[in-house]
Amino acid sequence: MLGKGLLKGLSETARNFVGSYTDEKRLVTVQYPEERLPLKENTRNFPFLVFDGDPVKGLRCVACKICEKECPPQCIYIVLERDEKGKPQKHPRIFDIDISVCMSCQICVEVCPFDAIKMDQVYELSRFDRFDDLLLKKRDLAKSNDYYHSIHPAEATEVDDRLTAEKAKAEAAKAKAATPAPAASAPSTKSVDPAAIPAKTAAAPAPAPSTSAPPQPAPATAASVIPPPKPVAPAPIPPENLPKPSP
């Protein structure tokens, strides 16, 4: 009979139509932005810089520029800090990421030898300005290790363990080199050993990730376009350093 196939197909759409009102599994609409799906732990969006303790001095980044060189779309710009005599300071004066160019490939994360750059999960980044507002500066990028723990708990724990082990190894080597000096094990502030910088606070155990809330994004308010770093950071960024909300 001509039309039998059509009727068969229509019965299928009818079943789906009824199911979309009765079947729990088929009620799939999420009322964004009031409701949000929880993000997957591995979800990545744009990079950020991890700091321990102080948001400026505690940056793990030593401005080695490997990520700048390896970044496929060339969206990272780094200038090394120098003191008044011109001596390199092992931290960046300028660290910019143009997120209008960034393609979220996380190759910067893979190549970083200091675990200084990681992938963020912030996704509501619309701006009224095409250029300046999408160029994230060092102060926008700096986020605490605790924030890192809150978004990628498993990965962050692994990184902390590795850094602690590296620090212990470096301390042991230092203690061996300077056996008579008892102060060798004390944290020396003059040291510019790159391994010691990230390790300084990594040794202090971060709050257990299970107790901190899962990365449930806060309800959107008109005032905050980028959610600021979690308040659990030991030294939160002063509000004047946060990116200005768009008009």
């Binding site: 001509l2 039309g3 039998k4 196939g5 059509l6 068969k8 197909g9 299928e12 759409t13 789906n16 799939v28 997957k40 732990e41 591995n42 979800t43 990545r44 490997i66 390896e70 970044c71 496929p72 393609m103 979220s104 490939c105 996380q106 190759i107 893979e110 190549v111 030898p113 992938m119």
Partner: protein, 399 residues
């Protein structure tokens, strides 16, 4: 309006058989054309052209007498960028070739560099690669049949059903690699990260539920009289022309040629799995549609065998270096059976951190070259679904 029709491209220089239904414009008694020919530029903004693709079509009434594909609107200099960036830096760009199936693109490129350097993916990574590639094939074919039905005028319903299922696979990709579509997951000699906890169970659940969707889709459409009327005998491709033009993938198998790189090359660990290669008989649009439905069932079979048997172990070759990766001078061509056909990468290394030459063999582009031969003599509405059945992605055609 034009007055004469030029010779079409294939058939002159040994390029395979000409099509039998080449239609001359109708002539009146005195030899002058009865009606004028009409030249229509379909695209690049036409919704049926699957992206920024243009067809310059010459019509005699409703029939196509000449068709010229025009592409390059999405050219992004992929190959030249590949020569100016590191080996690893090209990996995220391969995601953007065929943006429906980034996992298979990654695999093809990783396989090429593994041939070049001698890196060997460990057992667990090989399993993960097969699983992700078959999931990619599933979601690519699901999308394609949705789009194809959309081209035929089934507005919305089949496409939405297809996208609903595809979303489950993209969720799996997101929890594995961090991104739904631009996965950037595979590395030379393995994979980037291990499977997260509970991933295999989730994947098994998706695989378990997928046949239900396929049954539903087939009940919805396979006997539909309109679908059959629109697709049977439309856009017939002869096997000899397909072979001579280098067509691969489901397009080639729909003409009845048994050629599947998973069986021919046995790359990865495909020889361990039991699956069949569905073949068509007529080479028309209906066969191309059915081939994809049948291939999805075979992919599910592979997944059912691979997922429970995935071994423990490392996921990447310990010899792989993230920074300062310099293969020895040499060249390699690696190819895999992508969802759209043979996807190949050809890389020449001069021993530095960047490839000396980087070339992609995109299946979509080569499958598109015979578009005119399939469309001649068909109506303009059929040209749309013939293009839809080729399964092109403009990211890959233009690169």
């Amino acid at each position: 309006m034009i007055s004469e029709v030029k010779e079409h491209f294939h058939g002159e220089n040994g390029g395979g058989g000409t099509m039998t239904y080449h239609v001359e414009p109708k002539k009146a008694q005195d030899g002058a054309p009865q009606g004028d020919l009409l030249e229509v530029s379909m695209g690049p903004h036409h919704p049926s052209t699957h992206g920024v693709f243009r067809m310059d079509v010459v019509l005699d009434g409703e029939q196509v007498v000449k068709l010229k594909p025009v592409f390059g609107y999405l050219h992004r200099n992929h190959e030249k960028i590949g020569e100016n960036t590191t080996y690893l830096g090209s990996m995220p760009y391969t995601d953007r070739l065929d943006y429906f199936s980034s996992m298979t693109n990654n695999w093809a490129y990783a396989l090429t560099i593994e041939k070049l350097t001698g890196l060997q993916a460990p057992e667990r990574a090989e399993y993960i690669r097969v699983i992700t590639a078959e999931l990619t094939r599933l979601q690519n074919h699901t999308c394609l049949i949705g789009f194809l039905l959309q081209d035929m005028g089934a507005l919305g319903t089949p496409l939405m059903y297809a996208f609903r299922e595809r979303e489950r696979i993209l969720d799996l990709f997101e929890s594995l690699s961090g991104a739904r579509m631009m996965c950037n997951y595979m590395r030379f000699g393995g994979c980037r990260v291990d499977l997260p906890a509970g991933w295999i169970e989730e994947a098994l659940l998706v695989v378990e539920n997928y046949p239900r969707f396929l049954d539903e889709f087939e009940r919805l459409l396979n006997e539909n009289e309109i679908l059959i009327a629109r697709t049977r005998g439309v856009g017939v491709l002869k096997p000899d022309l397909a072979v001579n033009a280098g067509v691969t993938g489901p397009m080639l198998r729909a003409t009845g040629v048994n050629y599947d790189l998973r069986k021919v090359d046995k790359y990865g660990i495909y020889e361990r799995f039991d699956f069949r290669v569905p073949l068509g008989e007529h080479g028309d649009v209906y066969d191309r549609y059915m081939i994809r439905v049948l291939e999805m069932r075979e992919s599910l079979k592979i997944l059912e065998q691979a997922l429970p048997n995935i071994p423990e172990g490392p996921i990447i070759d310990p010899k792989y270096k993230v920074r300062n990766f310099k293969p020895k001078a040499g060249e390699a061509y690696g190819r895999i059976e992508g969802p759209k056909g043979e996807l190949g990468f050809y890389v020449i290394s001069d021993g530095s951190t960047n490839p000396y030459r980087y070339r992609v063999r995109p299946p979509s582009l080569i499958n598109l070259t015979i578009l005119e031969d399939m469309c001649l003599g068909q109506t303009i509405a059929d040209a749309v679904i013939i293009l839809g059945s080729v399964d092109i992605v403009l990211g890959e055609v233009d690169r």
